[in-house]
């Protein structure tokens, strides 16, 4: 079962090919705003290097954010079209879950910078699900001010919390000040890795949890600014 993982949600362009649980290859490239120019050439390159053709794929895993809306649409468009042409399953996976699944520990706090002292976060428990091996999302993905995190997590003050992603040093300092137990990770573990995405995608697809490619879209945690302005002026709808 050959799965292609595609992540264009953050500055990192992630691509991985996972063949029945075995990693064939992986790119994690900090390319900033070049996803449009680089994604398809790199997919072509990784296929060529590994002797794979697009038609060999059995499934696609794609990161659905939070992240840059434009970046997300590039990856998701690619996943949808591949899924449509080859009639193969596609699974969209939260960028926060990819980070958490790649980290160690029982309680995991993945973070993405949301600017202006805010973060996108969710909170996972590794062995929280009785009937499967997927992480349990204890707190749903949302955005919050960094200073609100101790309050949000207060019932987990006695657990060791693995902090992963962006703004980790700042958040750790704050949590430690508030008597939390925390750990952080080395650079190579502190990112959403494409291999983790591809592995997770394979697991989800095998357990029958693929997405409807017609409904698949980014995890827009924010409605468009124009809509917010309009609602402030005229009330909602």
């Amino acid at each position: 079962m050959l799965i292609l993982g595609i992540d264009t949600s953050t500055d990192i362009l992630g691509l991985a090919l996972m063949d029945s649980g075995q990693l064939k290859g992986e790119y994690n490239l900090s390319l900033k705003r070049q996803h449009s120019e680089k994604l398809l050439p790199l997919i072509e390159e990784i296929f060529e290097l590994l002797g794979v053709e697009a038609g060999d794929l059995d499934g696609i895993a794609v990161a659905v954010g939070p992240g840059s809306f434009t970046g997300l649409r590039i990856g998701i468009t690619t996943a949808k079209v591949l899924g449509r042409i080859f009639s193969i399953p596609v699974k969209g996976i939260s960028t926060l879950e990819i980070m958490a699944a790649g980290a160690e520990g029982e309680y995991i706090l993945p973070l993405l910078d949301a600017r202006r002292k805010r973060v996108y976060y969710s909170f996972y428990q590794r062995n929280g699900n009785k009937d499967n091996n997927f992480l349990k999302e204890v707190k749903k993905a949302a955005s919050a001010g960094i200073s609100e995190l101790p309050q949000i997590l207060n019932e987990y003050q006695n657990q060791e919390i693995s902090i992963i992603g962006e703004k980790t040093a700042e958040v750790r300092e704050l949590l430690v000040e508030n008597n939390f137990k925390t750990r952080i990770f080395e650079a190579e573990k502190n990112l959403p890795r494409a291999a983790v995405l591809a592995r997770l995608g394979g697991d989800y697809i095998c357990s029958g949890q693929a997405d409807d490619i017609y409904q698949l879209k980014p995890a827009y945690l924010k409605i468009p600014q124009a809509e917010i302005n309009w609602q402030q002026k005229y009330g909602s709808k």
Binding site: S36, R73, T78, I85, Q225, A226, E227, W230
Partner: protein
Amino acid sequence: MAANNMGVEKVNYKNKLKDKDEDIYILALESSCDETAASVNKNGLEILSNVVSSQVDLHKKFGGVVPEIASRKHLELLLPVIDQALAEAGIEFKDLDAVASTYGPGLVGGLLVTLTAAKTVSLALNIPLIGVNHIAGHIYANFIANPEIEKPLICLTISGGHTDLLYFEDLRGYQILGRTIDDAAGEAFDKISRFLGLGYPGGPAIEKAALSGNKTAIYFPRADLGDSYDFSFSGLKTAVMNYVNNEEQRGNEIDQNDLAASFQEAVVDSLASNLIKAVQEYKVESVVISGGVAANQRLREVIAERLKEHNLELYYPPLELCTDNAAMIGAVAYYQYLERDFAPLSLSAEPSLKL
């Protein structure tokens, strides 16, 4: 095509590239503004399907297209419009010879949706990717509407964004004879309309006011750019503003309608004169005017009148082809295919692409 997409040309596509005596099927996609569109055409001008899903109603309450909302909608509508275009054409992905998408000009977030989709189709099926200029698409819409149009021809394309005079030997490419060195014609209409408080868009507003005005009431100078076919409208704009300021200082009342008519006459005269000059020099068989400003009745009247003595037919696009669609993109793509003008997978969206 004048503007090539650069990059190293890939040669090992799935199928041998076809020539114009063979049937060529192209899937074309378009999402540069607020229409999500897909089409399949056969040999360029034969349109097998042309699906357009408009988001106009979605943006109405905001008084204009909201880029982020448009991009979200394009992603949602992408697969449904492609499916419908293929189904109506009775074609499957494997039958395609090439895939095309607009890559500019337009809103970058929107452009990236169909451009990325086209790249993915190209990679997945190993068929050529063709990047199409949206403005060229609007011009080729004329050739879809009038496939019998005789070549060589001159095309004047005029809108809020551009003013270009083009020469077509045949449909495989064009030569730019002249373009505006400052404002586009439509832009000049908009600016003067706003200055006179006539509203937006300026073209129809000025045209309406001009109907009850005297076009010879005020003489505004036409730009003299010597032998070139270029256009310039910023001098005219300044002349109108100076005229109004002077009259106001003298305490004279200004007749808005006379002013609009005189201004419009100056723009029309500049456009028509350059066009006629090119027609004489290049000995063409037909003349096409396209773009938003081509809807101006006075412009059509003057050009048609002056073309009479040259015995030339004037073509302008039917209204339904003035809106964005993918068939026009596919028509351009066909001729690019014949020229082997293919794009690499690294092609990026160019929001301010010119002809």
